[in-house]
Symmetry: C2
Subunit: 308 residues, 2 copies
Amino acid sequence: MALKWIECVPNFSEGRRIQVIEEILDPLRKTRGCHLLDHSSDPDHNRLVVTLVGEPEAICKALLEASKVAIERIDLNHHRGAHPRMGAVDVIPFVPLLGTTMEECVEIAHEFGKTFHRETSVPVFFYEEAALRPDRKRLEDIRRGQFEGLKEEISKPQRHPDVGPPQLHPTAGATAIGARQFLVAFNVNLKTRDIKVAKEIAKALRASSGGLAYVKAMGVDLSQRGMVQVSMNLVDFEKNPLYRVLEMVRMEARRWGVSVEGCEIEGVVPAMALIRSAEYYLQLGELEPSRIVELALLEMMKEAGKET
Amino acid sequence: MALKWIECVPNFSEGRRIQVIEEILDPLRKTRGCHLLDHSSDPDHNRLVVTLVGEPEAICKALLEASKVAIERIDLNHHRGAHPRMGAVDVIPFVPLLGTTMEECVEIAHEFGKTFHRETSVPVFFYEEAALRPDRKRLEDIRRGQFEGLKEEISKPQRHPDVGPPQLHPTAGATAIGARQFLVAFNVNLKTRDIKVAKEIAKALRASSGGLAYVKAMGVDLSQRGMVQVSMNLVDFEKNPLYRVLEMVRMEARRWGVSVEGCEIEGVVPAMALIRSAEYYLQLGELEPSRIVELALLEMMKEAGKET
């Protein structure tokens, strides 16, 4: 077996209607070769985040089916939620995992983008590594103004989609499709209801306003749970590991006498992202992957796979 | 391939003659399907500890060859070292790893024990989970008196071996073969030269004197490195995880105003043993293995193996 696996983390704009969520997940569960590793939906964000792992062909097939369900069932004109969004299928990143390169993921994104538009009529923007223009690298720039704002702006040349005519799908908006490195979604929940605290800490943490490199952060109100959250994406968990991010949040939170209620990782996480933090807190040296049973096993299985 | 992997950690009574060590390791390196993950030898202990991982058949084949080398090249009558021993091949534990159960490892131990004796004439004692008598569970009880003492005592019915006639091999002694759970060797180094501190903390930690269950501990003098160490075996790293053991050492060390210099893990360690501690310090909930990329991949590869 020549192993070729990718990760794909599609975000759908539905976090409230269980029935719709189940309908979207159904093809992702049933398609052979596409493994649904994780999914989480949240009424506050009104969003469904899915983690798929498997062969590119199987994932694209399942994803197209799931997207068609989302586009049929979600109307952005009536969608409210804490998370910015511009489409029923809001964003689809392809991530190299095992035996695949970034270049291949860029190609997969471009191919899938064309098929996606042809089959759904939803305009597509390519982002991050799959961006065709430098000003489309950042998802935030593509999504600026969200569904409501983009409805007007998309007619301007600089905001035309990469695939499809310059107008939003009337109910399903637009979709960003891209390729990127593995990303750890790390949230720190704070023992306060004061959203200002979360926003200030997010600002202190994120690279764009001077905090930690490779960290994106925003303050989120979890009103249903009676707390606020610093919601972060760690774009390079080796350069700025989890423990450093958490300890910096704790440090900043002391300014308001606020403590950490608990933390969450969304989706899936590489073992090493956790192990690097275990090493720090346990005062261990850096452990070679070959000394961690499962990582050594995986390496051996990959080697064995090459031989046959 | 239906994946069936075990760990095996044979201990040979040679830590000084590099040539002999290399001869013992040779078949363990060369046998297909047997993976040599780690080995360490130490002149003080005069002992070689090897970590093997792979398919039971391959491991047993390689191990028999390596054992024959050790039996031919090591004469216990001239062996001196800090570590208690009764045989050239002193102890062979089989450990369930992936797709194997403790029952299977007990069976492997019993089968291998018979083959081992037939091919080498060295008497065999079965220990821990593979013990045939309750008083043979503990290796320390089997090995009492070591090579020199057992030479006399083995003729007594209560010390007869489980396989073979009641007399030691004249130069290679006897071998203990068993099955046990995965064990994590965890050492905490202390910023003091006072061995009493390490001994007192070890006493406070170990289960046998009232500390933490599933923990064995002893104080060790690292005089060359100018510090002392609490050297521990965690027999069940799920019931008493690394972070709890370390925090308890820190807590006890405060009695003497001593802090922790650093920690070490010997040999190999399961990813989950480290991840459980990352979860604690990062205030994360318990992560399902399916949400940790490499563990999920391994699981899928096992499943894929079953289908074909």
